[in-house]
Amino acid sequence: MPPVIEITNATFRYDDPPVLQDVNVTVNEKDFVCILGPNGGGKTTLLHIILGLIKPQQGSVKLFGTTPHASRHRVGYMTQHAHLDLRFPITVLSVALMGRLGQTRRVGPYRKNDVDLAMQSLEQVGLKGLEKRSFAALSGGQRQRLLIARAIVSQPDLLLLDEPTSNLDLQGESEFIELLKNLNQRMTVVLVSHDVGFVSSAVNRVFCVNRRVTTHETNAITPAILQEIYGGGMHMVRHHHPEEHSHG
């Protein structure tokens, strides 16, 4: 079986210097990957390459052994909710139903099957009973869950999340990680974060993105990872770590 994501020697530039250079990344089935990096380091660009929104000038990108475009129906995507208009008149159910677009009939209203699937995924994220609520009336955490529900309504094999934990409190964050852990039993999860605190026991690999991408097989933040994200000028407060970390 081909890997879920396979990027080989990819370089992407809007201008000089390249935003991403010589990227080699492999994600396997049921991985839980956290993409970390400083702002402007190329995290979002990497995500957009995986989604097929942009193409690297050099190198190749494969999802499930084919192009990102051809595997769109197997990918669930959670938008950054900062991009959305909170006053848009739309109900919770209608937002979840958007995840069915492209997989249902082209014109006219949604089918009953679409509504059933949307209700199921709302239940999975704990929003059952709120389907008639307006999007504007949700709390930050509920909105996050709704966008997950929309991403998983078409039962994807790969779930991609863009900065999912921005404006969540600690309580909300730990609930959120539990939800992702559950989903990870059924699908591969890749999330982008600028927050090193997010890396937890759920994660099995960390990608550090700062023009180049390095892979770490770990579920903890190591000095080497911090070094890569924040550069060399940082002093670590060292606790008792028996082993030194090496690049994966």
Binding site: V75, P89, T91
Partner: protein, 279 residues
Amino acid sequence: MGDFLRDVMRFPHMQHALLAIALSSIACGVIGTYVVVRRITYIAGAIAHSVLGGVGAAIYLNQEWGWKWLDPFAGAIVAALLSAMIIGLVSLRARQREDTVIAAIWAVGMAVGILFIYKTRGYSDDLMRYLFGSLLMVSHSQIYLLSILDCIIIAAGFLFYRQLQAVCFDEQYSRLRGLHVELYYLLLLCLAALTVVVLSMVVGIVLVIALLTLPAAVAGHFSRQLWTMMVSAVILSAVLSLTGLMASYGPNLPTGPTIVVLCGGAYLLTATISAFRRH
């Protein structure tokens, strides 16, 4: 009020005016809602003003070249669709220049229209009619035209409701679900262009943006879904236009501006109420 009702029974042009209000309100509520939630009021404004270019050219060709089959509103439709396509393609291909193009189409379209009308003998007085509306001069054939435009707008608005909703709410996500986002954006602009032509019969080219957006904006204050916002906007638009027509009839005020002032008042009122509610 009594005079108004008696004249409605007696004069066909009054009945046409009422029909025009009913028909235009449907287009106004449905498309106005999309325009408000997608925040493209400025684009609608530019399309509206460029319509004068088409109207002027049609009148000129009709009178000076003897193209008697050419109705000014056919010219309006061509100009509106043309500027919608230009603005749409420019904003999709070269985002940073969008506002310049909008402003250019806005002003150049009007200028062209004024030049044509000025050079058409005996028509320079008609300019005001197109700029500020002439609800009481809507003809029989224009009512037919209105009905056809309404059918197109309703059919497209119904068949592509889900897609237009998704594209307006979250463009990037829609693209990832395999929707042709650009195509739906152009469709929306063309529907807005047709609606602008319809509404310009009621309030005139200059005042169209107010009638297009204010009833929808008022409806937006108390709607939780796109389609309920549309229904409310249709009703509001019909009520406000009818009230405007009746209020202007007795004291012999221009109808278009009266309707627009009422719309403004309704918007101010609901905006104030909802601001207080939030505190």
